[in-house]
Symmetry: C2
Subunit: 283 residues, 2 copies
């Protein structure tokens, strides 16, 4: 995702300094798109108007921005830091507070959309932060995304992202259960999927995951362990906010059971295996 997003920044005329833990990847990117390879995040931030991180989780963002060779040490005061990874909202708030102490601005701006959308610059970007900071980030977002939403304060971009993923995960777990019920009841499953896709039961998950489920094809597009992590973050947030989310809690239980079946690195469609296990039926 990150390399494709950076390519769109370069295409929009921004000078890009790239850092990747695997130097060869950064070198290959620069060979293709121009800009320069940075030796460290600190180096990448030298002279930069903005620093953008796109990594796996909160600790990685913290390391990249605030670690020994972190970008915070290379940036001049007032520089805008933008994290576009999906991390816990609490991590985003903590990192934002630490950056603020150094006079650095921070916006959390996770994205929705797969690699093709990163490639053609049509990501959905949900930004959390002050009006002024999000406005400063806007030109960069315009280069990478199509739908750009300022959803609330710092951390709330992440909150919206994990709620959205939790809804997707829940719809997917519901679909898995429905297919198992259909099988148990003896209906033709491709017909059931066809009806689901053309009725009140339609969802992006039916479009995307019903086919692979019927084939038990779990080639990973988004790993089950990552989806489980996002649902868990959503539940932490909803619990802290005092609003139960029982549908997502039930889905979490099924994804966790699928993890227990060794499916962590498979696509999250493999939650089907937990639904099959519940019923003792294979579709």
């Amino acid at each position: 995702m990150g390399s494709r997003m950076a390519a769109n920044l370069a295409r929009a005329g921004h000078e890009v300094a790239v850092y990747n833990r695997t130097a060869e990847k950064a070198e290959a990117w620069v060979a293709q798109h121009g800009g320069r390879v940075a030796a460290t995040p600190r180096d990448a931030a030298q002279g930069a108007a903005a620093v953008i991180t796109m990594v796996v989780d909160g600790p990685q963002v913290e390391q990249a921005l605030l670690g020994d060779d972190g970008a915070a040490h290379g940036a001049v005061p007032g520089t805008l830091m933008i994290d576009m990874s999906t991390i816990a909202p609490a991590d985003a708030r903590r990192i934002g507070a630490a950056l603020a102490e150094r006079g650095l601005a921070f916006v959390d701006a996770p994205v929705s959309g797969s690699s093709p959308k990163a490639e053609d610059g049509s990501l959905t970007i949900m930004a959390g932060g002050s009006d002024a900071d999000v406005a400063r980030a806007r030109p960069f977002f315009d280069a990478m995304g199509e739908k750009i939403l300022h959803v609330g304060e710092l951390g709330q971009g992440q909150t919206v992202k994990v709620i959205s993923n939790a809804v997707g995960a829940t719809n997917c777990a519901t679909l898995a259960q429905a297919l198992v019920v259909g099988k148990a009841a003896g209906v033709d499953l491709p017909s059931l999927v066809s009806v689901l896709g053309a009725s009140s039961g339609a969802s992006y998950m039916v479009t995307l995951k019903a086919g692979p489920m019927l084939e038990h094809d779990y080639t990973p597009l988004f790993r089950l362990e990552h989806m489980l992590k996002d649902v868990a973050i959503c539940l932490s947030e909803s619990e802290a906010a005092g609003a139960p989310f029982p549908a997502a809690a039930l889905a979490h239980e099924l994804y966790a059971a699928a993890m227990g079946r060794g499916l962590a690195e498979q696509d999250f469609a493999s939650v089907l295996e937990a639904a099959e296990g519940l019923a003792g039926i294979r579709i």
Copy 2:
């Protein structure tokens, strides 16, 4: 729905005899579309190649086909009976068995799609029955529907229909909970809805019900009591088949609690009130 479906049969060149408990409705239909008014279902079946019922529930279908003035008494042996209502699969099987004793064929063929789709003949029709019976019903289906699926044996059209409605009901209840969680966490709800519609959380329910939920507008398109009935039928079927459907069971609990709040005749989007009640938060 029934009057619009019958109009498409007439347009396709079928001679239609119409019966409605309110005679004026049948007379108005005939004045517009031709055919004849039948005094009873028995009368409607006289000389008919097929009898089609479109009513509210299993007891009404049973009355129309097997009651004192039921169509079974007016039909010659071999006549095809087609029920396009949404009823319990067990009711469809029982009615089918009673008709078979009289030498009458039966297909259950519930539909998906609202009044506009009934009007322009683009319904999704999911048929259960023998290959021969469904083949005989096909010309009638072609006049009324766009996507016509033979999903299994007698009763399984209904099974697919209630599974599909249960998935829709569950996705809708999940959406309601997500909006309450978003409100509790302080995010901008229209932005959350916009992200949901453009992400893995997208569903027909987000498209159709998120707007009314934000307005607390429960103008009935499909009543909560009817959705609850369909979810309950789905759960009976899944339990009888030995496959648990916990996501639908959880949704059932929320719709039932919304019923207890006096929302039976409101749109099923009012399940939001039960989700708000869980959290003690109004969105």
